[in-house]
Structure formats: C-alpha cells, structure tokens
Amino acid sequence: MTRLRALIIKEFHQMMRDPSTLLIAFILPMILLCVYRFSLNLDTITVTIGIKNEDNRAQISSLVSAFENTKYLIPRSYSNRAQMERDIEKGVIRGMVIIPNDFSEKLGRSQEAQIQVITDGSETNTANFVANYSTAIINNWLTNTYKIRGMKKPTIKVVSRFWYNEELNSHWFVLPGALSVIMTLVGILLTALVVAREWERGTMEALITTRITKTDLLLSKYIPYFCLGMVSMAFCVFWCVVIFGVPFRGSYFLYAIVSGLFLLTLIGQGLLASTLAKNQFTASQAALTGGFLPALMLSGLVYPISSMPTPIQFLSNFISAKYFVGCSQNLFMAGNIWDILIPNSIFMIIMSVILYLLIYRYTAQRLD
C-alpha cells in the first residue's frame, strides 16, 4: 500500500508539473468543443436553387411563391433549361425544380402529376436537404391548395416530426456525441505517453528493480489519470450545459458512472499502446490512429453506423466511443433510458477488463 501510494503521489507531481498535461486535459477539449459547436453544423443552411416553371396557369404561381417564402431556399427563375444546367455545374445553384407544362392539368384531372427535383449529388448533405425540403414545400402547397378549394385531400400525406430535438438544433445532439470523440483524444493522449516515458528516461529500469508489483505499477497509472480524466469530463459537460446551453435531461450521477466506464476503456487503450511501444512517439501515433480516428469515424457520431458495410459495422462494435455516444446522447436529450444505458455499459465494462488484462500480460518485469 505504501508503495502504491508513493507511486500515485509521484504520478500526481509529474502531472501537475507538466504543462502539457493541463493543456491536453482542459484547453484541448475546450477548443474542440468550440470547433464542434460552431463548425460541424448539420443544420439547414440557405441554398440557392433554380426553378423552371413550364406551366403557365395561375394556380402554379402560388407554388413558386411557396418556394420564395421559405427561409432556407432562395429560388432563382430560369426560362432556359440549358442555362440552369450550366449554373448547377458552376455551383451557382445547388438544385433545380422543374414544373412540367402539364402539371396543373394532370392535377386537375386527379392524375399523378410529377415535378422534377434534381440535386447536386456531389455534396450529399446539401443534396438531401434540397430534395427533402423541396418535397416538403410541394406537399405543403398541395395540402393548402386543396384545403382552400374544399376538395378531397391528396392520397399521400407525409408528416415529419422531430423528437427530442424539436428545434432541430443539431448541436444539441452533436455536442453530447462529440464529447466521446473529444474524451477519446484526451484520455488516450494523456496515457499513451506515461509508460513509454518511463522506459525512455530509464526510470522503468529503476522501478522494476524495486519490490513493486505489476498491479502497483498499473494502478499507479490508472488512478491519477482516471481522476484527471473525470475532472476534464466534468469540465466539458459544464461547457456544454452552461456555456452552450445544451439541455441535460438525464441524471448527472448516471452520466458520471458511464463516463467513468468510458474513461477506463480509454486509459486502457492508451496504456496498452504505451506498454507495447516503449517509445513515446510510436505510442502516441499508435494511440491516435488506433483510438481517435476509429472513434471519429466508427462511433456513429458523424457517419451513421447503419449505413456502413457489414464488416465495418462489426468492427464498430470494438470502438468504445460507439457505446458512449449512445449513452451520452440519451442522457443529454432523452433522460435515463435504461434499455440503452445498461447494454452499453456492459460492453464498456467488458472492454476495460480485457484491456486491463492485456496490459497486465504485457507489462514487463524484465528488460527482454
């Protein structure tokens, strides 16, 4: 016990004296949170589209004005289709809506009337936005027109509602998810260096000739960085909730428990890289490419896991950030949903135990 205490005190001293530790634990997450808050914007944006109206009947002009009355689309009228295609190539407009000349005629006869919506597929997000939004406008227009005339409503009616994020503030769900990516970076960067540093400076050699056990050594790395990581996590949540005004609907106590579990998997990954590499540079590279990048790509935060190919979906099961993204978004936006929290926590527990055992297995007690 004395030995463990001595090692932990040593680790805390080192942590406090190294300015880069505090930089990684507090300044880095702050910067990243700002980046996610202000630049990763999945919200609607204002997009210019082209409209070519070939149907000259009076009732269609109200459809055109429906496009003009939205906040997010700026319609531009064209009479020449070729000109419109050139503009979409140049990127002046991001989509085009073509109303064929028999549109109102077909509508009047209650036939299936078609409107062509073409979008610039090179920017998927914008394209989806234009397509969805245009469809919504047209449907809306359709409903209103029929209401006014007291006619039978159209056969298909699409109603979308957004749960949990009623105001469609994408940062409300981006930030809680981003916490997992940010903490992955912080947790791994902090710990990837600590064992390798002991090897590089020759202190490991001195340590293993004292009577410390492997458990002493491992706990002396886990405990201080766990504490620091939790403080850093609390700091991040504070930023999200207080400064960026993201609502928090779950229990802070539960959030602390899941964060703790998540942190254990991260410290495990960092220490494993550090233990295997014995070299600070290799360890940090391995930890970043093996930990941070998969967390960013495969956690489901930015790219939906359900749209990935099956092997990659399988791979994403080994990314602890995936489980934390789920927990975090739920605790922030939906409250304590046990069906999500419990399985995700179990996965994180299993992962951290496996990592601990691996590190234990590879912690050297000799130099060869």
Binding site: T2, R3, R5, A6, L7, I9, K10, H13, Q14, R17, D18, R201, G202, T203, E205, A206, L207, I208, T209, T210, R211, I212, Q365, R366, L367, D368
Partner: protein
C-alpha cells in the same frame, strides 16, 4: 539481477537465482541504471521519498537514511530543486543516493560516470571506495579503461566474450618493461607514429600521448628500429590492447589517395567572442580562439560545458547570440553555404541512414555535396578502397559493426574533399582498437593539411590533439598544447588530473573575484 533472462547457463546472485527470487534480490541490491533512473520532474527530496517508499522503508528509518545520504552526497542544500535542473555530477550523486536507500549489501552501477565532469567522477570514486570499506560489494560497469584500473578486480568483456578476469594490476604488471615513450627529434610526433605503425613488427601498441608517442613492444623485444625509447610504467589500457592482439598496423591508404589541401590562410577556424545565451542561461560565454591550418584542435569538457554549442556555432548549425565565427576567413553567418562547403561534419551517433545500404549512403552523401556522376563514382570507389567497405556495400548501415559505421560516416564526411573536418564525439562507445584505427586515418588527413576540430570527453583522446581548449560551465578556461596544460599543474600528471586542478583553480579565482 534478473532483468534479463539468460538463454542458457545459470546465474546466482547473493546465493539465489535472481530470476526466481526477484523479491529477495530487489530487496538486497541497490541498482543505478544508465541515466541514473531519476524522475527529472520531481525534486531531489521527492525522488528520495519515492524510492524510499518503494523499498518499503519506515518513516523513522527514512528520516535517518535521508540525513546520512544527503550528508554523504552533499546534496543537502538542493533538496527542493528539480532533478532535471541538477548538473550531471549531482544527478549522479542523487542516483547513487536513491540506490543506496535501504542499505543494500550489493550495489550495481551501470556506467555511472558517462558524461560527468572529472571532479564529480573523482568524488564518486571516493564515495564508492568509502562504501567498499564499509563492506559493501560494488559492481561498476564502464567503457573507460582508466577507471577500471582503479578497481580491485575486473572482468574484461569484448564482443560478448570474457577476455580476462582478475585484478587489473596483475594484468598490467605483465607488461612491465614493455612500455616506452618515444620522442621525435623535430617534434613531429604524428609523423613518428606513422612511421612506427607502418612497419609494425614486434609492436603491440603505439599512440600519441601529448608530445611523445607511447610505444608498447611485444614480449622479449627491447629495441625498436632506431628509436630513442625511454621506459615508462605500463597502464591498464596497454594491457587490454595486448590481450586484444595489438593495435592495427600498416598505413592508412588515405595517404596515397587524398589530394593535399593547399590554402594560403593561416587560421582556418576563428571564433571571435562567441556567446550563446538561452534565456538567462549562458551556454557559451565569450569564447575566442583560432585554429591553425593542419592542426587537430580539441574541445574538451564534460557534458553541458558548452563544447557542443561552440562547435555548432562554428559550423553554422546554431546562431550565436553575439560574436562571429569564421571559416577560412569567411563569416559563417554571412556566407553560410560557401563556408559550409569547406566543412566535413561527422555528427555524434554518425547520422547515417540506417535503412539504406552502405552504397546508397555513399551515393546520397556524394550527391548532396554536389558531385557529378563521374566524380561520384570515382570518389565512392576511392572511399570503398580506403576504408575496406567492399564486403559491406550491400548491408544496411544499421547492421554494420560500430567500427565500420564510423568509417562509413567518415567517408561520407570526406566526399567533397573538405579542408576542415569537424568531429563531434567521434569515438564515444567505440572499443580501443577501433579508436586507434580511426585516429590513424585522422592523423593521415592532418598530414595532408586537413584541419580537424574535435569534441570529446575522453581525457586520453585529448592527447591526440595539437591543442586543446578546456571547457567548463560555458567558458574555455584554458587553451594550449596537452603538455603545456599538464605542465601548468605538474610535470607528470595525467590529463585528467590536470583538468581537475585547472577547474579547481578556476573556481577558486572565481570566488576571489566575486564582490564580498
């Protein structure tokens, strides 16, 4: 110690197998690894505290041992200083203090004196001697033969094989009557050495020692050609060379192949009031010296004394805070690339491309020095001949034996026929035979008019130099020929003794100069 598992064979330390009874071993052995095993970001006291707790000392016991150890090492007034801010000598003492916690019966020191100034080294030896007198067993590993000479028993290892085991004195005394000094009549000891080695019959070893050549003759040989030999006492290094089969003989083929440097200027390297300041720390204070053409000029001093910084300012790798460095009369700051074209630079650790083959390294270096394809081919062939690199051409530079790495690095530095050669710690970690071979090449270069500037912390290597500058705490405290410096202290002292005496003198003067 149980840190490495033997592939076969058996080890017994303190009567037990160290791999099986690690706890017992760790409790009873004090171990100081290379680089001392200190936490640089902890203070002296925190380091001691940590290691005391790891050894499981009680509070009472701790207080007592701290007091004795701080007293013993003289670190008492530095307890709240960070270990990283200590000088090399103090780090070494702190490392020793940490390994002595819990009073082990057996102390293992791994190269404790590397990069430490001679005064601290002497103090360490004294402290270890005291411990020895108290009944402690001490194992000290070292690459310095003059250190090994002072111990009561030694084990001599070469390429993993045991060469000798026993008291160093026993080995040295076998050479009684075989060691001599030879003096050249015209004072040209380098030419004399070359002549002695060229023949090589009946010769065990010959090296330059200040203004003479130290000669060791084979058993039973009393005379050597027509040399005027004066007997001297043998030292341990002579005996080691004898065991290793004698020094390399013959002539460096550089002598036939290298064109003679012809240049009018008398002083080829000039340092004029060089200062390098990092924040409030002066790495180099007001350094002035001139190096003549065809001279070997040495910068001698412990790590951190400022010799490497001076060196780097002279080849334009570091910008001086003030003062000028001139190469062949050119201010290096103003004519960097022109001045650099006069320089051959062999860096510490050789800076070769480990993943490239010897041939690829040669091609690369000849290419960056701007040789055209035909010149490259000629020059590379020439270097391969001179340095016997042929059998290794296809090998990666990483796989070469140390001696060949050194040769390859030297040949890469010589690609563009530089009139000036800079060598930064060229022979640290190299065995004495390879070192001799290397210096034979350097001597030949110097004979051809090449000027050589070298940094070293090997005191006996300094003897090869024509003139040396002693560096201590950022200042060149003395400059002169090796024998001049020695004579300042006493007639027949070693270079190390001279260095210590000169430093102590400097420190005394400094105290006097300080205002009361």
């Amino acid at each position: 110690m149980g840190l490495l598992l033997p592939s076969c064979g058996e080890v017994k330390t303190l009567g037990v197998n160290p791999c099986e009874q690690k706890d017992f071993i760790n409790q009873n052995i004090g171990y100081m690894p290379q680089k001392f095993g200190l936490y640089e970001d902890l203070t002296v006291m925190e380091n001691l505290d940590l290691y005391a707790d790891l050894k499981g000392l009680s509070q009472d016991h701790k207080d007592k041992s701290f007091k004795t150890l701080l007293n013993f090492t003289g670190l008492g007034e530095f307890i709240s200083r960070l270990a990283g801010d200590l000088s090399g000598g103090m780090k070494q003492k702190l490392g020793l203090a940490c390994s002595l916690l819990g009073r082990p019966g057996f102390l293992v020191l791994d190269e404790p004196s590397v990069g430490v100034d001679p005064i601290s080294r002497r103090e360490l030896l004294r402290m270890v001697q005291d411990l020895c007198d108290e009944g402690m067993t001490i194992l000290w590993s070292t690459a310095y033969l003059d250190e090994a000479e002072k111990f009561s028993s030694c084990v001599l290892l070469n390429e993993g094989k045991l060469l000798y085991q026993g008291a160093p004195q026993d080995l040295t005394s076998k050479l009684e009557g075989r060691t001599f000094f030879a003096y050249a009549k015209d004072g040209k000891n380098r030419a004399l050495l070359k002549q002695i080695i060229k023949d090589g019959d009946g010769l065990t070893d010959a090296v330059i020692q200040a203004d003479s050549v130290r000669v060791v003759l084979d058993r039973g040989i009393q005379k050597y050609e027509n040399l005027d030999l004066q007997p001297t006492t043998p030292r341990f290094e002579d005996a080691v060379i004898d065991i290793l089969g004698g020094c390399p003989k013959g002539e460096s083929s550089l002598s036939h192949n290298l064109q003679i440097v012809d240049d009018a200027s008398e002083y080829v390297i000039e340092a004029d009031a060089l200062v390098k300041r990092y924040g409030s720390f002066y790495a180099v204070k007001n350094n002035t010296f001139k190096v003549k053409k065809g001279e070997i000029f040495g910068l001698l001093g412990p790590n951190g004394a400022g010799k490497s910084t001076s060196f780097k300012m002279l080849c334009g790798l570091v910008t001086p805070t003030s003062g000028t460095a001139r190469i062949m009369g050119l201010d290096i700051q103003k004519n960097l690339s022109k001045a650099r074209s006069y320089l051959g630079y062999m860096a510490q650790k050789f800076s070769l491309f480990g993943g490239l083959s010897v041939m690829q390294n040669l091609k690369f270096f000849s290419g960056i020095y701007g040789l055209n394809i035909w010149e490259q081919r000629d020059k590379i062939n020439q270097m391969v001949d001179i340095f016997d690199l042929k059998p290794y051409l296809g090998h990666n530079a990483d796989e070469l034996p140390l001696g060949f790495k050194q040769r390859l690095a030297l040949s890469c530095a010589l690609m563009h026929n530089p009139p000036i050669l800079f060598l930064d710690e060229p022979t640290s970690g190299v065995d004495p035979l390879t070192r001799r071979d290397f210096w034979n090449h350097i001597n030949t270069l110097v004979e051809k008019g090449v000027t050589v500037m070298v940094t070293t912390h090997f005191m006996d290597e300094a003897e090869y130099c024509d003139r040396i500058s002693l560096f201590y705490r950022g200042e060149a405290i003395e400059t002169g020929t090796p024998s001049e410096l020695k004579n300042k202290v006493s007639k027949d002292c070693t270079m190390e003794e001279a260095f210590i005496a000169l430093i102590e003198k400097y420190d005394r003067q400094k105290i006097q100069r300080m205002p009361a």
